[in-house]
Symmetry: C2
Subunit: 214 residues, 2 copies
């Protein structure tokens, strides 16, 4: 892959950091490696972002608003089109997941790395509690509220456990480890988010209904 020398160095640092943090985790990456990969001097990351941790957070923050905006918009769209009874479980999960196909649609590798970074953080006992809430709790609670309305008989705990299962399936998908490719001997592809969601939406919707409608 050719170095994009037309992109501003500040962005190249973010891009390189995004890819490397997603693949190797926070401690698995050095600032020197990020700088080399971005084709800039070691000290430039420090100049633009301060400490390593600040860079990490800058990477995590960069695309969050755009992503969650799209998801919230999708939720509101299906809420409006469904009237007073509200959207179905399937529609809600669809709105939660489909905007994440953005990486495939735009062909922007950066999005793929970013989503893998979310998976890393969400699955980490260290980073998860420290970093997920501030960017994602508001969005999740909005979806939970919609799900409660679609499943009025469900207890709160049941809804959250179901959400946990959905979140886990999603997280492993975003991690994009290639494990399913190998297990299935090439019949499934980790990188094919569309196929993943095509299965995940009916799968998890059926799970929600089973637990929450009895």
């Amino acid at each position: 892959m050719p170095k994009k020398t037309n992109v501003p160095k500040r962005d190249r640092i973010l891009d390189a950091a995004e890819e490397l943090f997603a693949e190797h985790g926070y401690d698995g990456v050095t600032l020197r490696r990020i700088a080399t990969s971005a084709g800039v001097d070691v000290a430039l990351a420090n100049y633009h972002f301060g400490k390593k941790l600040d860079l990490f957070q800058a990477v995590f923050n960069r695309r969050a608003e755009l992503l969650n905006g799209a998801r919230l918009e999708a939720l509101h769209a299906c809420q409006e089109s469904s009237g007073a009874k509200g959207p179905s479980v399937e529609q809600i999960i669809e709105a939660f997941l489909r905007p994440l196909e953005i990486a495939q649609e735009t062909g922007d590798e950066g999005w793929r790395h970013y989503l893998a970074l979310i998976a890393y953080i969400n699955n980490s006992p260290y980073w998860g509690p420290r970093m997920m809430s501030s960017l994602f709790d508001e969005l999740v609670q909005e979806f939970i509220k919609a799900l409660k309305k679609a499943l009025p008989k469900a207890s709160e705990a049941d809804i959250y456990w179901c959400y946990h299962n959905l979140s886990g399936a999603l997280t492993l998908t975003l991690a994009n480890t290639g494990r399913i490719d190998k297990l299935s001997r090439g019949q499934c592809h980790s990188a094919d988010f569309r196929a993943a969601y095509d299965h995940m939406i009916p799968f998890t919707a059926a799970g929600f209904r089973k637990i929450c409608e009895g």
Copy 2:
């Protein structure tokens, strides 16, 4: 928690490494920290296990056979009790998951850390492809075979995508990040594996049926 000075130092190193690797990942832990936590000299880890990577693999290997033996035994048990028609999807998933309650049952914190380590490795784009197959593929394929029998109309790809969703839900559970506790404001507890599986088994079984039985 008091230092267990009665435990052999070699095991104390494994225990400490297990806990720290699970929490911080491979690169987030130094041999010094492991040694300090185990109450032994820095060089002793090197003496017993060689390089850091070898210690990492030793930790990952240690409990795998016991764990997967129990899961396989559970699968065979339900296969025998169900006769020629074979066990149901629920029974198969139950056999896949319930032995993982071992941490809760035995009260051995080491098991909890070990399971979190599996979650870390399985969700990692770097470690997943390098370390999961050798210890877990055989077991997984055995369960897949049973699932195919229980869902004879399903395509292979569908089975594997459903397994992927199950594996993701399980992985996030094992990671034990406390996120669900926070989101649900204390109504669900990450550490309560029994509650997690009580929901995960019917949830994922319904998903399998939806995808694989139409």
